[in-house]
Amino acid sequence: MVNIPSSIDDTVPAAEVEDVELYHPHSWWTTYVFSQDAKVIAIQYSLTAISIGLVALVLSWLMRLQLGFPGYFTFIDADRYYQFITMHGMIMVIYLLTALFLGGFGNYLIPLMLGARDMVFPYANMLSYWLYLLAVLVLAAGFFVPGGPTGAGWTLYPPQAILSGTPGGQSGGIILMLVSLILFIIGFTMGGLNYVVTVLQGRARGMTLMRMPLTIWGIFTATVMALLAFPALFVASVMMLFDLVLGTSFFMPAIVEMGTQLQHGGGSPILFQHLFWFFGHPEVYIVALPAFGIVSDLISTHARKNIFGYRMMVWAIVIIGALSFIVWAHHMYVSGMNPNFGFFFATTTLIIAVPTAIKVYNWVLTLWRGDIHLTIPMLFALGFIVTFVNGGLTGLFLGNVVVDVPLSDTMFVVAHFHMVMGVAPIMVIFGAIYHWYPKITGRMLDEIMGRIHFWVTFLGAYLIFFPMHYLGLLGAPRRYYELGESAVNPPSAHDLNVFITLMALTVGAAQMLFLFNLVWSLRHGKEAGGNPWRATTLEWQTPTTPPPHGNWGKELPVVYRWAYDYSVPGAPQDFIPQNQPNPDRLSMENAS
């Protein structure tokens, strides 16, 4: 056998780890509301993220209605359109995807998969959720203040973001957005430090770093990145607030606003863009890496085969994480920065394609000679591969500086990032929910509803975003309330827009079915048992399902092998749980 960390570690002692002091809740309130149990916090994070995500989904329908049937729905005027775009983008990227992957899956899976009783700082973990909730409420409050939320685009580029030509620019809207981001980042930092320290310090005996499931590697690396990247957004938000409220000029040069000379002078709008994308590009991978990790485990479990090239997969995650801090200006090729930067950033960007491609190869090579069960998590994993490969490849257009020149700020970009960081990670989220729902609730999600949900979502999303690239190639700019008469908007493009809108509504309807399934299966789902997928990782080996506070009962698990002992030759079953000692070791123990 290849030298893989699955080989028996004979030095691991028997499980003699004593029960850690946990603060056990004493009332309903501290069990379900102000809970310090990472699993409850995970569910709170997830439900909040899904709720605000639904708002973003509805906003996407409204935008699509305007783009498919311009001017037909009179309540969607230009102001509102830009407010919808902004809130949709910001909610999807930060308040849904980041919160769900790290706050949701991170909280649920880190302690369980590592054999810990909880996060190391449960109290800070609880605060993290409440700050997140507050951030969401402040963000949503934007819809109710005079002037409405900001319509500056999710990138919030100044000077436009804080001037009066932009909806919400001189009123509460932009302030609420910035304050909400600041709160989110503070809350995230509390959770994020927890995840990192738990991974580094809280692992069960025998769980070496190179035995961790890739899910944990993905979440861990993404969290480290987020802790390094979010501060850039934090300072940018604070500086912009100062520009707006205190009249400073960090991002404000001399400006004539609608014929009036403003008091500002000397600031640099491009400085904001550098800060924003220093956060914003890593942010793409903060969403992608947990998805990479989770999908690796879904594929391995449901193909009953070890993940191919585990060590390469770990290194690819770490290298992608590191490189993604030196590519940010590929979002700024046409921003007016010194064009010579283009050489550097195009090169670094295309270098990232190599470890990313290796990950794709290893996923498909895991399928090769596997024993593929076409369960719903597996279907979503396949959907992820298709959409991620598609979106990743169009990234090679946009990363290759000169090719980006005609395509940047067109619908090609919108199609690209939806495919790669919208659809693909959401495929993983769905797959993961179908996969872990039985552990969380003790019941399976309904299979038939699941299959309908998968096919409509996967094919529908592909049909929305694949053709959209060609509108961008044609030249249609993004963030256009209406394109009207133009060489880049022929009648055929209009037909395509109608089609895309209809698809968007269909995909949206399928999500309602999913939500119904979530609720319906709570009561009516098939009983799952502790390990319905016959998986190796620790969360499936808990003494009871759903796991109680403290997860493991009396004794913490001890880990004897890596997470991927599927279909090991000679083993009686096609999986060996991570906490199962080797046969010879068992016999040794029995003999003594």
């Binding site: 050489f343 399928l367 500086v401 991927y564 279909s567």
Partner: protein
């Protein structure tokens, strides 16, 4: 089975869509067909990879889907295979990056004989300035912008007095001569974008950005703003006309200079 068929269909339908799509770039009107060529190379390489990966997945599902008694093969790593895949990928990436950087080098190297044309963006209107008889643009300053002097030219700079000002009208450029577009904004970000020229660049208040191109055919082209600049963003359109030399000279004669503008009936549009 359905899964296999649909995956194969996704791969082939995507390729067919690409080949048959009526939505393709507008006929080019500048020297940047190099960019179009790089896009074509990229389409070939990425299209090949996409089809190969999706078909491979489909094949795996077809060949290795669960049947009772099946067992997966146990093979944690294969160094050789991983090495070869990484190498081939690197070659593919270089095959796209190399022409890309080569063309980028042309894109950032402005020919010395390019004529300068200034574009000034403001919410939500394009204005232009051409050098006058002296062939030089005078200096300008956002602080100097006023109703009489909408582009903020420096009145004390003699080089600017004969500059030609086009406030809110059409821009004309002669065919076949390289132009360096100097881009400036007096309020927020904008982006001067003519799809047929393939080039675009943001306009940033407080600085002057640029790009260059050579118009290769005459015609009238629409200018779109490609950077969100407030609610008027989609209405911020303009027109560029590429003229023959004679037509261009004709048009140029009819334009007003900065001096004329300051003296005579002021054509303010804001």
């Amino acid at each position: 089975m359905a899964v296999v068929l649909i995956l194969v269909l996704v791969a082939f339908a995507s390729v067919l869509f690409h080949l048959l799509s009526p939505w393709w770039w507008t006929p080019i009107a500048s020297n940047w067909h190099y960019i179009d060529n790089t896009i074509i190379i990229t389409f070939w390489i990425t299209g090949f990879v996409f089809t190969a990966v999706v078909l491979f997945v489909a094949y795996c599902v077809f060949r290795f889907r669960h049947k009772p008694g099946n067992r997966a093969h146990y093979e944690p790593e294969n160094r050789k295979l991983e090495f070869w895949l990484a190498t081939v990928t690197t070659i593919g990436v270089v095959a796209m990056l190399a022409p890309g950087l080569f063309v980028w080098n042309q894109f950032v190297t402005v020919p010395s004989d390019a004529t300068e044309v200034e574009v000034v963006g403001q919410q939500w209107l394009w204005s232009y300035r051409l050098p006058g008889a002296n062939g030089k643009l005078g200096t300008s300053e956002t602080r100097d912008v006023s109703t009489e002097n909408p582009l903020g030219l420096n009145k004390n700079d003699a080089a600017g007095l004969d500059d030609i000002i086009i406030s809110g009208g059409e821009l004309h450029v002669p065919v076949g001569k390289p132009v360096k577009m100097l881009l400036r904004s007096i309020d927020v970000l904008h982006d001067f974008y003519v799809p047929e020229f393939r080039a675009k660049m943001d306009m940033v208040p407080g600085m002057v950005t640029y790009f260059w191109f050579t118009p290769t055919r005459t015609g009238t082209f629409e200018v779109l703003c490609a950077e969100l600049c407030g609610v008027g963003h989609p209405q911020m359109r303009g027109t560029v006309v590429v003229d023959t030399e004679a037509d261009y000279q004709n048009w140029l004669q009819q334009q007003q200079t900065f001096t004329q503008m300051m003296a005579g009936e002021v054509q303010t549009t804001n």
